[in-house]
Symmetry: C2
Subunit: 102 residues, 2 copies
């Protein structure tokens, strides 16, 4: 009856909905690839449980992401995949926050 | 002389180099916007110190990112900015990991 689910606070419906879409899973996997790429192990240790990895969905690793995104020939091994996505995006950087001319 | 810097283990040169570029900072800011968008507060609590936010660089918030990326008119408030970047990217999702037809 009045069984209060204390865990419900941890249910992140927005994220669950997002991860229910193919693109959402890809974006989340790209975020995770970024964290992995830079060895942000402490962040990953929190990111995985907080996003319910393995429970709600499984992240794709870099090689599978490259495959899924058709990036094979373009991929720069020295960059996280999100940099490639940005490069391939029509988005242009309009303003540089720090001009830093040398 | 033999002053071993125990902190040196925490220096993430790859990330520092990445964040020294405008595009790197943008990508990192987009990753952070994703974490913020989904209220991944525990992850953020680790992400910020691990990436040296404020120390090495400051993340741009969503509104400033939208501005910087020229996304103003395109932005879907129900999605993290990375979804917009993906949508605007030439990258096409070649394979769906789970066809899930309804």
């Amino acid at each position: 009856g009045e069984n209060v689910k204390t865990k419900s606070k941890l249910v992140n419906q927005n994220l669950i909905d997002f991860l229910s879409t193919t693109n959402g899973r890809l974006v989340a996997s790209l975020v995770r690839e970024f964290l992995e790429f830079f060895d942000l192990d402490f962040t990953l240790a929190v990111f995985d449980p907080e996003t319910n990895i393995g429970k709600d969905f499984k992240y794709r690793e870099r090689s599978k992401l490259i495959d899924a995104l058709g990036l094979t020939e373009l991929t720069d091994k020295k960059s996280p995949l999100l940099s490639e996505i940005m490069r391939l995006s029509k988005v242009s950087v309009l303003k540089s926050e720090s001009p830093t001319p040398t």
